[in-house]
């Protein structure tokens, strides 16, 4: 089980958090103008990266805040944590 450094509460057990999948998939502002294919892309298609992935987590049993994590999905190493709306770290 990971230790996750919640940007609002500090380091906590993974069991306090809920994963929210790939980050930076922005909900289209004008869904009605998308084709079915484009909508399906938003709704279901995922990069599902093996390696460094940007993803969303929620401190659901803590401050209830959503934030982002950079994690290597091949070994579960967390590389960085940043708040919603902040620019993802580069590199």
């Amino acid at each position: 089980m990971f230790l996750i450094n919640c940007p609002f509460c500090g380091e906590r057990e993974q069991s306090e958090f809920k994963a929210g999948g790939e980050a930076h998939i922005i909900r289209p502002k004008q869904p009605s103008e998308l084709s079915d294919d484009q909508w399906a892309e938003y709704l279901f298609m995922r990069k599902n990266i093996k390696g460094v992935q940007f993803e969303r987590w929620n401190h659901i049993h803590g401050c209830r805040k959503w934030f982002n994590i950079v994690r290597d999905t091949s070994n579960d190493e967390i590389k960085a944590v940043y708040k919603m709306g902040e620019k993802p770290p580069v590199g």
Binding site: M1, F2, L3, E13, K18, G20, I26, R27, P28, Q30, P31, S32, L34, D36, W39, L43, R56, N58, I60, R64, K65, W66, N75, D76, M84, G85
Partner: protein, 1001 residues
């Protein structure tokens, strides 16, 4: 047979404290400090069990958790029975009863032993090649295979013991309290770090603590006495916690470890009662030091499995620690100096050592010299080729090894013995290290895998890091601790060490024999009876990878997880396939290190603590009034209230009638409630519900339907506008947490610009729902000041009110179609408000009703229950609720998905009403619906989602989903049950009061 082989008083054994125990029904005695294994050996009992496949007699082989053979059933046929307990680990206590497993009728005469004779027909994987004829017979073969497999017996009654969990956070965790672990723990603790030292045995000091030889000295004392002083010192350190009888089971990522602290297994039965048996420690350590030592390797030769064959280090431990001699005519077979250490210990105690067979040719070693001095014959460059004796070894044959070690040469010689100690050198215990994600490297010179790269902040020290002798331990452990803790100085820096151990070893994975391999039984995995020829067979058949060989031959799949034999399996593969050991890799060491009781892993979360038990503030009233309860999520909800021996049907019919004819009362407190505030609250609701919210006036309520982004109905409920920027949303009982979580998600991640705050207030309010034509009279009585006129307080509106001094929110909303009110009051006033309503309703036969009646009443009105009438495939259009989907709104969650080719199809499954031809016939919920019963394959159009006998309509009614159902009004369909077909007519889902007259009645 019975002899006393207790040879010399040991300071580790309390000979003043005699303990009686039973093994296979016979009474024996041992002393406090004994394990079952040491006590049996002291009584000259070697034969303890039978092997898995061939049922060969097996004895005690080791003195630790790596034991493959001596596994027993404790307390057979009692509630504290336990299968597969290692005799080498269990400490004896008064009243201990153990018995052999996997044998019938007895361990010394076992019918299953016939498998040993049939063994030529039972090579590795034989079952894949046979039992295929006749085709239908596998289950019959399987019956017998299953019966003969397995080891001990599962308990058959619940466990009387208690288990618990504890979280520990520390700076440094040291695993293993041998010499390296003691040095590590002392260094960490002395430097001010909060340190936890864990040891699986009942004592500290590992194998050094009973080392009492002049050949191994530290600062001019025997290494045992030097270590004893160190131990006495660390026991005084305040920031060092020591836990014995505690074994680390799993080492997960992020330095998260699980350990089992054994609290009562060594206590007499009567002292086990009402105490915690095991405690699971969940440890988060900033740093971890693994000092788990090493395991001695056996040697692989023909018939290397007989009772009386033990690891040389085990014989030493039994002698030095327990004061027990494993035999009276001892022979050792070794490829390194370890067996000589043991021999010297035995000689010191006056135990006979007959001979030592050493694979190695001439070598200079002080230990060998000392042994030879004591007139022990040493056969150098020899190997054991076979052993004899069925229930106990009585003889071995030996031959000389060829120069390359691949063949035997010369003539055969036989030596009699009653105990054979074997040593194939040492294997670092890297199991926990690799579990943590660490990577190993292979050290060619002595053919061992040692830690190479770490995956977290940790260090391996001592024998588990490949340093097997005290000279290397003192120098290397000191160096690495200094570096690990970044210290300028460390106390062990100038320690003087003397070790007479010659580190040479002649490693031959599979020792040659004068017989062809096919005729030998050289066991690699003792417990599973996997032999060297099995491994070669697997390779011959194309199973090349170590994982394939393991699975095909079952090597390493026993309860010892191959702690003894895995390296040899790898070695034999590498030699046979001419592959390099380092490149083959090892099999994965899977947690736990030693098997872990389910009860320990579960802790206190059993019985009533299995899951949270949520009850409403009015719960006790329901209990007192004889309610039956239904589980809804984690809630217990009153289901119905039987009176005078009514069954559920009768109670529900009575409750339903009462609610429609006079007044009913329901505890609706479990509904989810979310308080929504902020200047953008209306806009937020616009986006999350399918309908429009901007124009809802303050004080008004509105029903809303929430979709998933895929367009499917997710939740529903009534939301009330309490103020300009303030709403209270209700959700379904089961959906509350998920809805809140989903709303927070959108709010924080998609629409952070919205000024909205969400708070769960489900537990803060109790909700009493009063419904029926007389509901108004009840509310008037309970809240006399409230103007309940339709003009002032119409359907779908809300008012703040007071009952005495208690503030409450009253909503006039209805889930039954009746004129009804919901009173929301701070939770702890819930019961008193409920009772006030009951009191006020006395004259009106006010009837409490449960969820079943609620379901019936709403079905009469065709109101859906999300999750019952919908699954995750229903859109609002499918539910014939087009009216609630705003066409004007630009967007809401799930809107786009409603316009995909499949969601727009006209012939989707749609919600309809169903009436049976026979009005007394009640459909089964879940029953499938078809149009043409003769069509093949039969086409299922949908299913019955809700079905009741309506006492108010005096007929059976049902809701269902039917493909194209919207356009089937009046059509006849069929419900094909197992033994009959039921005809139904498709109708509108609203069965009662289509005009909604009752709402204002």
């Amino acid at each position: 047979m019975t002899k006393n082989l207790r040879v010399k008083t040991s300071k580790f054994i309390d000979e003043t404290y005699r303990i009686s125990f039973k093994f296979n029904g016979k009474l024996y005695y041992g002393f406090k400090g004994d394990t079952l294994a040491s006590a049996l050996l002291a009584n000259n009992v070697h034969l303890v069990g039978r092997s898995f496949k061939y049922h060969r007699p097996r004895g005690i082989m080791t003195a630790g958790s790596e034991e493959p053979n001596a596994i027993v059933q404790l307390h057979n046929n009692t509630s504290r029975t336990e299968p597969n307990v290692r005799a080498t680990e269990i400490e004896i206590y008064e009243g201990l009863e153990a018995s052999s497993q996997n044998c019938w009728p007895s361990v010394s005469f076992d019918i299953g032993g016939i498998n040993n004779i049939l063994s030529p027909l039972l090579p590795a994987g034989f079952y894949y090649k046979t039992f295929m004829w006749p085709a239908s017979f596998w289950e019959k073969y399987e019956y017998f295979i299953r019966k003969s497999a397995g080891l001990g017996k599962s308990p058959t009654v619940p466990d009387p013991d208690i288990y618990e969990h504890r979280y520990i956070h520390c700076d440094v965790l040291v695993i293993g309290a041998g010499i390296s672990g003691i040095m590590a723990a002392k260094t960490a603790a002395k430097n001010g770090l909060r340190t936890l030292l864990i040891e699986e045995k009942s004592y500290l000091g590992g194998s050094t603590i009973y080392q009492n030889s002049d050949h191994f000295k530290i600062n001019n004392q025997t290494s045992g006495s030097w270590l004893e002083k160190e131990i006495n010192e660390i026991k005084k350190i305040k920031n060092l916690e020591i836990k014995t009888r505690t074994s680390v089971a799993a080492y997960h990522g992020y330095n998260f470890l699980l350990a089992r602290e054994n609290l009562t297994d060594h206590l007499p039965i009567e002292k086990k009662e009402n105490k915690t048996r095991h405690r699971l420690l969940k440890i988060r350590a900033k740093k971890v030091i693994t000092a788990t030592g090493s395991l001695e390797r056996p040697l692989i030769f023909d018939n290397n499995d007989r009772p009386g064959i033990l690891l040389s280090s085990a014989i030493k431990k039994y002698a030095d620690l327990f004061g027990v001699s494993c035999g009276e005519k001892n022979i050792f077979f070794t490829n390194n100096d370890s067996a000589y250490e043991t021999a010297i210990s035995l000689i010191q105690k006056g135990i006979n050592v007959k001979a030592i067979i050493d694979n190695r040719e001439e070598i200079e070693s002080k230990l060998i010299y000392e042994v030879e001095k004591n007139n022990v014959e040493v056969y150098k460059g020899y190997t054991v080729t076979n052993t004899f004796g069925y229930r106990r070894i009585n003889k071995i044959s030996i031959m000389q090894l060829s120069k390359d070690g691949q063949k035997v040469i010369g003539s055969k010689k036989e030596l009699s013995c009653d105990c054979l100690g074997i040593s194939g050198g040492w294997t670092p215990a890297v199991h926990l290290f690799t579990q943590s994600g660490g990577k190993l490297k292979f050290r060619e010179e002595d053919q061992v895998f040692i830690p190479n790269t770490y995956s977290s902040d940790q260090l391996s020290v001592g024998a588990c890091n490949g340093d097997f002798t005290i000279d290397l331990i003192l120098s290397n452990v000191t160096k690495s601790l200094k570096h690990f803790f970044n210290l300028k100085h460390i106390e062990y820096e100038n320690t003087e060490v003397l070790s007479s151990f010659n580190k040479s070893k002649r490693n031959i994975w599979l020792l040659p024999s004068d017989k062809i391999l096919g005729k030998t039984k050289s066991f690699v995995d003792y417990q599973n009876d996997a032999t060297a020829k099995d491994i070669k067979l697997a390779l011959r058949e194309g199973f090349k990878s170590i994982e394939h060989v393991k699975r095909y031959t079952t090597t390493g799949m026993g309860t010892d997880q191959g702690k003894l034999g895995n390296m040899h399996a790898l070695g034999i593969i590498s030699e046979t396939a001419e592959a390099k050991m380092g490149e083959l890799g090892t099999t994965t060491f899977r947690p736990p290190y030693t098997p872990l009781t389910f009860g320990t892993l579960v802790g206190r979360n059993v019985g009533e603590y299995f899951d949270i038990f949520r009850k409403t503030p009015i719960h006790e009233w329901h209990v007192e009034n004889n309610a039956e309860f239904e589980n809804v999520g984690q809630w217990k909800r009153a289901w119905y209230y039987p009176k005078n021996n009514e069954d559920m049907h009768q109670a529900v019919q009575r409750e339903s009638k009462a609610a429609r004819e006079s007044v009913g009362i329901l505890d609706a407190s479990t509904l989810g409630k979310i308080d929504i505030q902020g200047t953008d609250a209306s806009e937020f609701l616009n986006r999350v519900y399918t309908n429009a919210w901007s124009k809802l006036n303050i004080g008004k309520c509105r029903y809303g339907l929430m979709l998933n982004e895929d367009g499917m109905v997710y939740d529903d409920g009534v939301t009330t506008r309490l103020g300009e920027n303030h709403y209270i949303m209700t959700t379904t009982t089961g959906g509350a947490a998920n809805v809140l979580s989903k709303l927070e998600d959108y709010l924080q991640t998609e629409w952070p610009e919205l000024d909205v705050y969400l708070t769960s207030v489900t537990d803060h309010f109790a909700t009493v729902s009063v419904c029926g034509p007389n509901s108004k009279k009840i509310i008037t009585n309970v809240i006399p000041d409230l103007d309940l006129s339709d003009k002032s307080f119409p359907h779908m509106s809300f008012k703040n009110a007071k009952i005495g001094n208690i503030h409450c929110r009253v909503m006039r909303i209805s889930f039954t179609g009746e004129h009804s009110y919901e009173i929301n009051v701070q939770a702890n006033y819930g019961r008193s408000v409920w009772e006030k309503c009951m009191e006020a309703g006395k004259d009106f036969n006010i009837t409490p009703y449960g969820t079943e009646t609620m379901h019936l009443l709403r079905a009469e009105k065709g109101f859906i229950i999300v999750g019952q009438d919908t699954d995750a495939t229903m859109t609002p259009i499918d539910l014939q609720m087009d009216w609630i989907v705003s066409k004007k709104k630009y967007d809401f969650i799930g809107k786009r998905s409603l316009y995909r080719s499949d969601t727009m199809r006209e012939d989707r499954k749609q919600l309809v009403g169903l009436l049976t031809e026979n009005p007394n016939e009640v459909l089964e919920e879940g029953a499938q619906i078809v149009a043409d019963i003769n069509k093949s394959p039969i086409e299922m159009l949908g299913h019955v989602t809700s079905s009741y006998f309506s006492p108010n309509l005096n007929k059976s009614i049902a809701l269902g989903v039917v493909r194209g159902g919207k356009n089937m009004m009046g059509k006849k369909l069929i419900i094909p049950m197992e033994k009959k077909k039921i005809n139904v007519i498709v109708t509108d889902p609203v069965f009662l009061d289509k005009e909604n007259k009752r709402l204002n009645a």
